[in-house]
Subunit: 206 residues, 2 copies
């Protein structure tokens, strides 16, 4: 078999594992569950990953990468829509909200949040990856907020670092709402409220 076959098998395992883990949690998902869903054997799984711990690392790495790719794509579109940095960010949030709304099923959940609620099981490496993910989201938004702030007044008393973290906060919280209500509209609206707040933070009216 060629490398592509290997990669597609690995991907199949990761996809199956992610789906199951977001449904039941990491610990509650057995390797047997995963190999069954991925249509592979235990030996095959251990060929690709160093046990369950190695699988966890593979999962979070893949998740953060895919996430970054989505955000990058949306920002490309958003940046084309206007020359105004504020409008670009607002457009990004709009696109992101719509992307969520268009999901057929209930939002599957975020691996970062899931792992955070099982964090004592993982070692420092995994916890480091989780923190790295959250930090990257903060940086991504904060860069934009700072650029906007260089041309517009910012509402007093609003720390931009916290406003950037609010993106993560809203998304993670919104995902929980959507899962509890079994309805993506909740997450969609939460992102739009965040968008609205940002527009108010940079609104120059008294």
């Amino acid at each position: 078999m060629n490398q592509k076959a290997s990669e597609s098998t690995k991907e199949r395992i990761l996809q199956a594992a992610e789906t199951l883990i977001l449904q039941s949690g990491f610990s509650a998902t057995s390797l047997d569950d995963i190999i069954q869903k991925a249509a592979i054997t235990k030996g095959g799984l251990f060929y690709h990953f160093e046990g369950k711990k190695g699988l966890a690392r593979g999962l979070i790495e893949r998740y953060l990468q895919q996430d970054q790719e989505l955000f990058d794509q949306l920002f490309v579109v958003a940046d084309q829509s206007s020359d105004d940095p504020l409008e670009q960010l607002l457009k990004f949030l709009e696109l992101f909200a719509e992307t969520i709304q268009q999901l057929e099923d209930t939002h599957p959940g975020c691996l970062v949040a899931g792992f955070t609620y099982e964090s004592h099981q993982f070692d420092d490496e995994i916890r480091g990856l989780i923190r790295q993910g959250v930090t990257s989201w903060r940086k991504m938004i904060l860069r934009r907020l700072n650029t906007i702030a260089s041309a517009r007044p910012v509402r007093p008393g609003v720390p931009l670092e916290q406003l950037a973290d609010m993106f993560t906060s809203i998304v993670e919280g919104g995902i929980i709402l959507s899962r509890v209500y079994a309805n993506n509209e909740a997450l969609y609206h939460q992102v739009l409220l965040y968008r609205d707040y940002i527009s108010l933070v940079y609104s120059s009216s008294p």
Copy 2:
């Protein structure tokens, strides 16, 4: 032994279980872990709860109850601080934010969020309790928002139901931030940003 001894044992079990489960997740927390921390035997645990599932129900019921008690207490103080419904809600959020900030350790996490990320393990009863909890938070805030709206103009395009859900969203998301950063300031600031947004939603300036 008397009833007080029984109740205190039950409470000790619940407290131990909650702490451990918020650290490692429900599945990853063994009954052995819990009985060790609670200084009881396996038989004793099964005397008080119908297995691990019964324990989960006891945990979520207790959590929602304690949560409600805290909110009620804070609203009593907040309602005394002013006659203006908007000021009362803003004060409540301030008090809540300060309560979190004063926690000695990192916020332990929310059982509702934790269980949501392991929801496929639980039956409809537990999932019902989780939904009931989130719904009660929404109602609690929405009642206030509607009262405020009866006397003040609301910013157009802001659905009050979603603004009420934003409380849950911000708190759950903020908890994740605080846990990842190992710092309660994140959650504190998120609640204050939500407070700021609410004040803007009801601000009457053009």
